[in-house]
Symmetry: C2
Subunit: 206 residues, 2 copies
DNA sequence: ACCTGAACACCGTTCAAGT
DNA sequence: ACCTGAACACCGTTCAAGT
């Protein structure tokens, strides 16, 4: 019962967040949607910040689960897929995206755990691509951070309309991701027999 | 007198923003700091959103002015300098940085103008680096967007603590910027006599 | 043209009770 | 252990006046 109320509160808050941003997440409306009084949330969360943090935590947990669903493609294509998913998420749920990467004054262990799991998945995929000779060698943490920073920045700038000039619509986040992968492939030491032509038709390890 | 009041209101609002984020920018406190009543701002701005937009606009205008001060370094080093300045700005004034790239429902021509000028400066520098053979050829708008997205994403993730794992502090935004430039240099078609060794000692066009 | 003071509706948070 | 209703302080915004 209690756990159910808590989950319903988070769900209601996320819905309000999607509709009108953090300002639309009023504890009164959250309570109403969840069928409780306007200050019942205080029995489950310290304050409004804590409720918002719970949304971010749930979001990160869900995303790390989605990242596990990468298909049987080559490592670098799995990486492209993960990053495209990240960008698509930002476009579909901009308010959740912004919230998740807002500054968290409070520590919130749950949120830190979820973030760590997501990062781990990403780094592993990058390392696999390096091992396959699809990406240049080097610290996989560092290269993963490069990918994440590019995808995050492209998505965030696209949301605020600052990525490309109003007239030209040529620079989509996905395009920039493809560009980066292309440049990095040019720097990778190809393993014997690999050509790096079209990424979609490139040979893949079994 | 009127223009002076307006400027003072923006200045006071920016100060409050730095101290405690958008929530700390209350019209009552803004008025108090500017020496006017708590609703005098409504004679200069349509509402609170409009006042915040004025801060963002002022910020973009200032930044495009700073970008003009690039020294006599080679194009690619000027580009590195511009991007480092961008990252340093985000770190020094995180609230202004976040606000400037928040979603602007209203059009706000002044803000669009300032953004366009900044982008123009960046694209020109990228094009110059391409012409000097320091960066790979291609649409300079697209390559400029790649740099901007990386710097923006790295800075934003660093602010929220999501760039690198809590333990390792090795992935600074500046490091990722240097990494990207390094990878791109590897793909540039060097002009005769240029070696691309240490960027700081690389030959520069007169 | 610019500013003030009072007023309204709304929100986060607290508190004393209730089961 | 979880929830409710009343209450408080605060904020954005509006309005009727003032110069």
């Amino acid at each position: 019962m209690a756990r159910d109320t808590r989950a319903q509160l988070v769900s209601a808050a996320a819905r309000l967040l999607d509709q009108g941003g953090p300002a639309a997440v009023t504890l009164r409306e959250v309570g109403r949607l969840a069928g409780v009084s306007h200050n019942a949330p205080y029995k489950h969360f310290a304050d409004k910040q804590d409720l918002l943090a719970a949304i971010a935590s749930r979001e990160l947990t869900r995303r790390s689960a989605i990242m596990a669903d990468a298909g049987p493609a080559s490592p670098v294509e799995r990486l492209r897929q993960i990053m495209r998913g990240y960008i698509a998420w930002a476009r579909a749920k901009p308010a959740r995206f912004k919230l998740t990467f807002g500054a968290w004054t409070r520590g919130n262990d749950e949120l830190g755990e979820a973030a760590h799991l997501s990062r781990r998945r990403l780094i592993d995929t990058v390392a696999a691509a390096q091992a396959a000779g699809e990406l240049p060698a080097g610290d996989p943490d560092r290269l993963a951070a490069l990918f994440l920073a590019l995808a995050h920045g492209a998505a965030d700038l696209a949301l605020s309309g600052h990525l490309s000039a109003p007239g030209k619509g040529s620079a989509d986040p996905e395009d920039l991701l493809d560009d980066l992968i292309g440049y990095l492939r040019g720097n990778a030491a190809p393993r014997s027999g690999e050509e790096f032509a079209n990424p979609m038709t490139a040979p893949r390890p079994a």
